[in-house]
Amino acid sequence: MISKRVEKIPPSGIREFFDLVLSKPNIISLGVGEPDFIAPWRVRERAITALEEGFTSYTSNKGLKILRRTIASYLKKKYGLSYNPENEILITVGVSQGLDLALRTIIDPQDKVVVVSPHYVAYPALVELNLGKVVFLETTSQEGFKVNSKELHRILKKEKPKAIILNYPSNPTGVTYSKEELKKIWSVLSKEDVVVISDEIYGEIVYREPHIPLASLKGAKSKVILLNGFSKGWAMTGFRIGYACGPKKIIEGMTKIHSFNMLCAPIISQIAGDEALKCRGEVDAMVKEYRRRRDFIVKELNRIGLATVKPEGAFYCFPSLKKYKMDSLEFAKRLLLEEKVAVVPGKAFGASYQGFIRISYANSLENLKEAIIRIERFLKNCGS
């Protein structure tokens, strides 16, 4: 009854663990992949007004012109990126849909797509649903979970992939790249015939250096699909609103599929997104708060023996369990049952990351403090 294509997708190995977490009340959850803030009131108020004004219709397939224009001028002003709102920007239902559209548009069955690991759970699944073949490029904690350009070069030469998915700042590691590092990666990518899908949804949440979109590097725009949106930076996950920017031909292809399977993103969310780009202060305040928490949690995790690469973006970190020689699923289950703290096992982000857990610090400082006390106690009981 079910297609081979869907059947082939392995059910997430940690689904059971998620169910276990959801069944437990009163836990401290460091497993939430979204901000603990509510969308800025300005944004919510604009959405309410839009409803009152009667905005309940479809929009053009590409999305509201005013939103595409606002996005274009935002990208221009913030990053010096020029996209034509007429044919180089598509409003999507979150980055998730943008990613699916991008893959559908560029890959044929059996085409290879490089996924940088540890990766966001949807990447390999979406590649396979589109009948592509996933090639993993694994990064290591020793190299700060950053792409090794020699390895990248080797894989590109050997596998001849049609596309590569990059994600920075990264879910699950929080690692991001400086301009110099990106240039190095781009110098490898630019020599090959490969489309880069760059998921930069956490680009608003960076701590040290400003975020640099890959497409802003010299010569990159013609081969890069930039995926972004409002979910993380503006705490608007439930609005399901994002956008894709790229070469006219690709965006046209994506729009074609979009016009059949989605028609358009919800109009209220589009109007809310337009308002979001006007509230800088709220985003800055959230980032400031995340930074404080990051500083706290990373220092504490390292102190209690969970070696953690310092993330420079997003609100995740990816500590290693090496010292405790425990499988991440086992670790997460026991931590949940014994100390009522939820984390996501590293296995979810790639087969090679059994020895890691993902911690989301999108949580109050009080909860983070309490969580550290509990994890420390748990580790003592485990013995190092």
Binding site: V32, D36, V121, A348
Partner: protein, 160 residues
């Protein structure tokens, strides 16, 4: 504004230890900075915002009082303001632009107490030309703190 002040403004009871950790300074440095701010009067006072509406006992009556005054030669509004803000009933006192001059926040145990203060102390002052008293009915938000029940974040406990 210094991050130390920002954090203290939000939570004056944070421990020096936590504060030092958040601003990535030593405990000593933070203590010294706070002392300096206290000395300069930049940190004016540490107080607790109490949502008195939630208390079972009777809560004091609060009134906002607009006062129109005649400014005096040389000292302007400062002298008359001082005469007024020295009353302990006056919790806050501001000089404003617009149709009146001073805005007072006055607290009393009941309406009569506030009314008596206005008619016996405030209105008779020679520089006071007139007053308008507004009794406060409900506090929704004070000093950035929302006093009515707000929606909680409705996130799932675990997501990718």
């Amino acid at each position: 504004m210094d991050e130390i002040l920002e954090i203290l403004e939000e939570n004056a009871r944070i421990s020096i230890e936590d504060l030092a950790r958040l601003v990535k300074k030593s405990k000593k440095e933070v203590e010294e900075a706070i002392k300096k701010y206290e000395k300069k009067g930049i940190i004016a006072k540490y107080k607790t915002i109490i949502n008195k509406g939630r208390l079972k006992e009777e809560t004091p009556v609060v009134a906002l009082i607009e006062v129109r005054v005649t400014p005096q030669k040389d000292v302007g509004f400062d002298n008359i303001a001082q005469r007024i803000y020295r009353f302990s009933e006056v919790k806050s006192c501001y000089l404003l632009s617009g149709t009146y001059d001073l805005l007072l926040v006055v607290e009393g145990k009941d309406i009569q107490t506030v009314a008596r203060f206005v008619s016996e102390k405030l209105a008779p002052l020679s520089s006071v030309k007139g007053t308008t008293t507004h009794f406060m009915l409900k506090k929704y938000k004070e000093d950035g703190v929302i006093f009515v029940k707000e929606e909680k974040n409705k996130r799932l406990t675990i997501t990718y």
